[in-house]
Structures are given as structure tokens and as C-alpha cells.
Amino acid sequence: MKQPKNNDCQNQKENKPGRTKKCGRRDFLKGAAKVAAMGSFAMVSGCGSELLASGEKRKLQWEEFFKTNYRIMTQQEKDATIARLERLAKIKKDVNIQMSSKAPIPGVLYGYAFNVTRCEGFMECVSACVKENNLDRKSKTQYIRIFEMEPGKMAPESGNGKYFHEVPVKDHFYMGVQCYHCDNPPCVKACPTQATWKEPDGIVVVDYNWCIGCRYCMAACPYYGRRFNWHDPVVPVKEMTKKQHYLGNRMRARGQMEKCTFCVQRTREGRLPACVEACPTGSRVFGNLLDPKSEIRFVLKNKKVFRLKEELATDPKFWYFID
């Protein structure tokens, strides 16, 4: 059977009336394609860039998927991925974020001290941390936990990490725990892809995109310092902290590990971590361990300090002290 080369419907109809149905469908498809093309043109030029954006989004996501580990990226590659992430945030959630890749400041090693005597368990640090670091609101993720302790005990295991009552309670004291940024971190040793490492300024960070979500680091941490994204984290755009760092408070996705970064997005700009700034009792001390005039060095020199689980030789850069 000869098919007419000319697909013109009118022609075919005249020759073979029995085929009108097929012709009709073909015609319809042709017409539909035209309408779609016109429609998309209209949408691109007119009411919205939805179609164009989805093409761009796909391209950006594709490039994001094949990018390498942040630690071995050149500055050019870092700039490119940051540009992509900023653009994707705009396309997906219509939010303008500013992401930084600021490198560690030479001659700086961060350390932290916690005043057990002063803390009264208000948990201002916790809410500041949640807000600053864009933590998942759905599962109520917290990097910081405050334990209410009875006198005579010094290990958080013996305290109450879930209190919901007015504080401070008489004859009780409070202890905050978080990632201690160990100098000898077991989590870093465990990671099979080197997706987590210790930066030259002592901060233990995660490349969220390089993480495969095996959770071996979580098993290796003796301090419960890591959190996993069991689902896509939920942070309302209005509450989102827009000033972000690639290794810090940028948005994570499901299946990725995350943790306290000593607010790398703030501290590398010379600011204090959100928890230190928020603490109403001044229990939290943060600073440069290499600077002899820093407050943290003063605490280490003049106060009686201790660290948790010293016997594990993890060498935390987080000390507790008593006034």
C-alpha cells in the first residue's frame, strides 16, 4: 500500500475516504504540537518562564550531580557550584541566598568552653542554632542538647535530655552537648568517601553532596554529634537564614549527614557562633586557641576544665569548666 508522501489531510481524504480516522489523528497530533510550540513560546515570552526554567533547572541539577568533592575542587569549581546552588534556590523556592566558600583564616584554631556553673537551661542557644543553621523543623532536629543534671553526677548519660518545665530547677545544673570538633575525630576516619573532614581551623565539616548516607560516621561518634536527614528537611522560606556557607548552613537534602560546624558561615567572618551570641547567661566561650589573648585561652589557663570521655583519646576542642 502506498503512503502518500504528502501528509496533507485534505489530499488523503479525497483519495482514500476510509482512512479519515487515521488522518484525523495525525492531523490532531500535528496541530497539538503546533499549539504546544506556540503555547510554550507564549509562556516564555509572556506570562512566566516556567518551561525555560524547568529546562535550566534540569541542566543545573545534572551538573550538580556530577560535581566532585568540595575538598578537591578548584576555586573556579567552587564558584561554579555556588552559582548553581544560588540559582537553584531561586528557581525552586524563589529565595535569594548568598553562599560563601570562604576558606579558613590562617593562624586560627577554634575552641569552645562551656560554663557548667552558669548555664540555667533556657535553651536560647538551641533555638538560635536551629534558626541560624536552617535545621529541619519537621523532625525538630537540634545540634545542641541541654541535659538537666542532678548534683553528684557529671556525665550527660545520667541527666535528663528532654525536660519541658520551668528552669532553672533548684539543686540542678545544666550541661550542653554538641559536636566537640575532636582533634582526632573517629567520624572522619570512618567515612568511606572522605565526605567529612577536619578543616585547618579545626572545624569538622561534611560535604553534604558527597555524602552517600551510609551513617558509619554516626556509629563512630562517641558523643552523638551527628544528625541524619531521614526525609527532606523542611524550613519555611520566611525563616530561612539566607547568608550561607557551602560547608555550613546551606540546605541539606534527604539521605545526607549533617552536624554542628561552629557556625562556619559566621565564625570565618569573625563573628561568634549563634549559640554563643544567644546565650543569656554567658556560659558559652568561643575563640581562637592559637591566640594567647583570647577568652578561650584565659579559661583554659585559669579555670579547672574537663572534657567528656577523655579515655577515648578523641581530643575534643570543647571543654567544660566550673566557676
Binding site: F65, N69, I72, R145, F147, A155, P156, E157, S158, G159, G161, V177, P186, K189, A190, C191, P192, T193, Q194, A195, N209, W210, C211, I212, G213, C214, R215, Y216, M218, A219, A220, C221, P222, Y223, Y224, R226, R227, F228, N229, W230, H231, D232, R254, G255, Q256, M257, L312
Partner: protein, 408 residues
């Protein structure tokens, strides 16, 4: 017909064709068996799609119990895979004729177990699409620092070895040639060391974590081996009994007796080590023993694992006693239930009985009970079905070829 059996087809293409044809043939019961496996696999895929879409929150794991049913099964089946060495060693090195006849089945069971292990790992990953980050060259494999990197190497290597050697032997037999022992003997030696390697490395994965006192125990490696050399041959015995009753491939009584001896010796060593661990935890109970207290007796009203571990220990002890005293010497009626008992006992004990207490109580002393979600159970069943499916499809042609070769 007679012509065909005396001079069968040769070459690789007809090898593949015959394997497919043999696998498609079979009685109603066999077809039904495969269909059930397929249904379970499909359901597993469906559950995995859900998990893939919503993330691991489809499971009942949490920041405290961060490993669950998947890693438990992974750990156990590494042991089953390693146990093939208990057939390979006597068959190839000591030239044991009885075991040589069934060594191929041991190797196939190992292949099935290894495939299950890899699938359990994939199922457990938060970002399975990022698994390429592990491939050296395009990704970064944190070797030798991370024990997980070691585990990836040893498991894939052992899988390759267990595919390569049996394939060479079966393919030679298919082409009616005697395989050249000089060619495969080095690989046999390698696979023997490798078998010990996969299980020791998997034990070191846990043993190397000072954060988890329940795992940070030097007996872990040896005990992994002992329990594996009991559970693995027990499973192989069950498979052999099934083959013996369902096919024309008859297995000598001597084989079962030798396997029984291997199982009994390993199971007794395993129980001695278990006793040693329990003694250490409970003679003078420290804070580091809290995980063991949680496992055996429950802690602060949380006792999800207590019935499991006591069931497991009871099964272990009874299985070992039955196999050791071997009632009904001439009649192997007790062999099958005893092997199943021991296998299930070790499965529970070395699965959830090992992984969950390592994580509970948490480093901050919090206790959370864990029970797998339906998604986890479905994916696990799907993976188990896939493993059994692979073993079936590999064993069927293998025994046909072996039988044909024997006749010639």
C-alpha cells in the same frame, strides 16, 4: 535423544542457551516456587520505590538506632558467604572426594549471599545514586582509613572469585573437558584467605569503634568466624537436603556427616565465646555493659530485644546439642530441623541481636526501642527472595552439567 546426550553442544553461546532452557524447564512445583520468589521481589521493589521517594524515614530507624534490619542482615549474610570456605578448603586442598562433589553448591550459596549483602548495603544508603563516589578514579575511596572501604573491596573481590572459579570448572565440564587445576588453584588459595578476610573485615567494621563498647570487643572477629562456620554449613546442609529430595542429584550420607562435624565444632566454639562475652558483661557490670543489659534483660522498661535474644540462644543451644549427639544416626530425620534451628538462632543473634544493642543506649544514654517498618520488612524479604532466586538459577544448570559430565 541419545545422540544429544552423548555429544552435547559445545561453546559459549550454546552454554548460555542451555542454561536459559534448563532454567525455564521444570515441574509445576518448581515454577510455583519461582513465581512466589518473583512476587516477593516485586513487592520488595515496590517498597524500595517508596523508600527511594520519601527517604529513609520510610524505615523505623532514627538518629539513635541509625542501623537496623538491613545492616543486621548484611552482617549475617557476610558470614554465610564466608562459610563456603569450609567446603572449599577440604575439597580442593585436602582433596576430599565427597565434599568435592558438592563444593560447587557451597560456592553458589556464597554468591547468593554476597549479592544479598550488596543489595542490603544499597538499600541502607541514604543516597544510593551517589554510590559512584566510592569508585576510585571518578570518586574517592577512603582506603585504608575507613573499614567500610575495606569491606567494599573484600566483598566485591570475594564475589568475583566465587563467580570465576566455579564458572571455569562448570564451563569446562560443559565442554566435556577436565578443568586445568594449575589454572584455578591459585584462585582457590586466594579465595580461602579472602573468605577469612571478608568476615574479619566485617567484624572489624564494628570492633574498630571505641564509641560503641558493645562492639569494641576483640572477640568479635573470632566469634564472627565461629558463628559463620556454623550457620553457613547449616544452610548448605539444608540446600543439599532440598537438592537430594527434589532432584536426581543424590548426595552421599558421608557429605552430611562431614558437614555435621564442621557445624558442631564451630557451634561449640561459638557458644564458648558467647559464654565468655556474657561472663565479662555480667560478672562485674559496668556502664559499658548497659547495652548487654538492654539486650538480655531490658533497661528502664525497654525490652524489645529480650524475647529475641533468648529465643536465639535457646535455638543455638538446642541445635548444637542435637547435631552433637546426632540421634537417629542412620536416619537423618533430625538433621534438617537441627540445621534450621541453628541457622535461625545465629541469624537472630548475629543480626538484630548484634547491631541494635551496639546503638542502644545512645552515647548520651538514651534508650529507644526499634522494630522494623513494613517497608524495611518488605525490602528485606525482597532481597532474600532475590538471593534464593539467584542461587536456584545457578544451581539448576550446574547440577545438570555436573551429572552429565560424570556420566561421560
Amino acid at each position: 535423544m541419545t545422540k544429544k546426550s552423548s555429544a552435547p553442544n559445545r561453546g559459549f553461546i550454546s552454554f548460555i542457551k542451555d542454561i536459559i532452557a534448563w532454567n525455564l524447564s521444570g515441574g509445576i512445583a518448581y515454577q510455583l516456587f519461582l513465581c512466589i520468589l518473583l512476587v516477593l521481589m516485586m513487592f520488595g521493589v515496590y517498597a524500595y520505590l517508596i523508600q527511594f521517594k520519601v527517604g529513609l524515614s520510610a524505615t523505623n530507624m532514627s538518629d539513635i538506632v541509625s542501623w537496623g534490619l538491613y545492616i543486621s542482615n548484611f552482617t549475617f549474610f557476610v558470614g554465610v558467604a564466608a562459610a563456603a570456605v569450609m567446603l572449599i578448603l577440604p575439597a580442593y586442598i585436602f582433596k576430599d572426594k565427597d565434599l568435592h562433589k558438592v563444593v560447587i553448591i557451597g560456592e553458589v550459596v556464597a554468591v547468593g549471599a554476597l549479592i544479598m549483602c550488596l543489595l542490603f548495603i544499597i538499600a541502607d544508603l541514604g543516597g544510593p545514586l551517589n554510590a559512584w563516589h566510592l569508585i576510585p578514579g571518578i570518586g574517592i575511596l577512603n582506603f585504608p582509613s575507613s573499614l567500610l572501604a575495606w569491606d567494599i573491596i573484600v566483598i566485591n573481590g570475594y564475589l568475583a572469585l566465587n563467580l570465576l572459579v566455579p564458572f571455569y570448572i562448570v564451563y569446562s565440564h560443559y565442554n566435556n573437558r577436565e578443568p586445568d587445576e594449575k589454572k584455578y588453584r591459585p584462585f582457590i588459595f586466594l579465595s580461602i584467605f579472602w573468605a577469612f578476610g571478608i568476615h574479619l573485615v566485617t567484624a572489624f567494621l564494628y570492633e574498630g569503634l571505641p564509641a560503641r563498647p558493645f562492639w569494641n570487643n576483640p572477640l568479635m572477629g573470632p566469634r564472627f568466624l565461629a558463628s559463620a562456620f556454623a550457620a553457613g554449613p547449616a544452610l548448605i546442609s539444608v540446600v543439599l537436603i532440598i537438592i537430594h529430595t527434589a532432584t536426581t542429584f543424590k548426595i552421599d550420607k558421608q557429605v552430611f556427616n562431614k558437614l555435621r562435624l564442621i557445624i558442631v565444632v564451630s557451634a561449640i566454639i561459638n557458644l564458648i565465646m558467647l559464654f565468655s562475652e556474657v561472663f565479662k558483661e555480667f560478672y562485674f557490670t559496668t556502664h559499658h555493659s548497659l547495652a548487654a543489659v538492654y539486650l538480655y534483660f531490658g533497661l528502664d522498661g525497654h525490652n524489645a530485644l529480650v524475647p529475641w535474644i533468648w529465643t536465639a540462644i535457646t535455638m543455638n543451644v538446642f541445635g548444637t546439642i542435637i547435631l552433637a549427639f546426632n540421634p537417629g544416626r542412620k536416619n537423618p530425620v533430625f538433621l534438617l530441623p537441627a540445621c534450621i534451628l541453628l541457622f535461625l538462632g545465629i541469624w537472630i543473634e548475629k543480626g538484630i541481636g548484634l547491631i541494635i544493642p551496639g546503638l542502644v543506649p545512645s552515647p548520651l544514654g538514651e534508650i529507644v526501642d526499634y522494630a522494623p517498618s513494613w517497608v524495611e520488612i518488605s525490602i528485606t524479604l525482597g532481597i532474600l527472595a532475590f538471593g534464593i532466586f539467584v542461587v536456584t538459577l545457578l544451581i539448576k544448570p550446574a547440577i545438570i552439567i555436573e551429572q552429565r559430565f560424570e556420566k561421560v
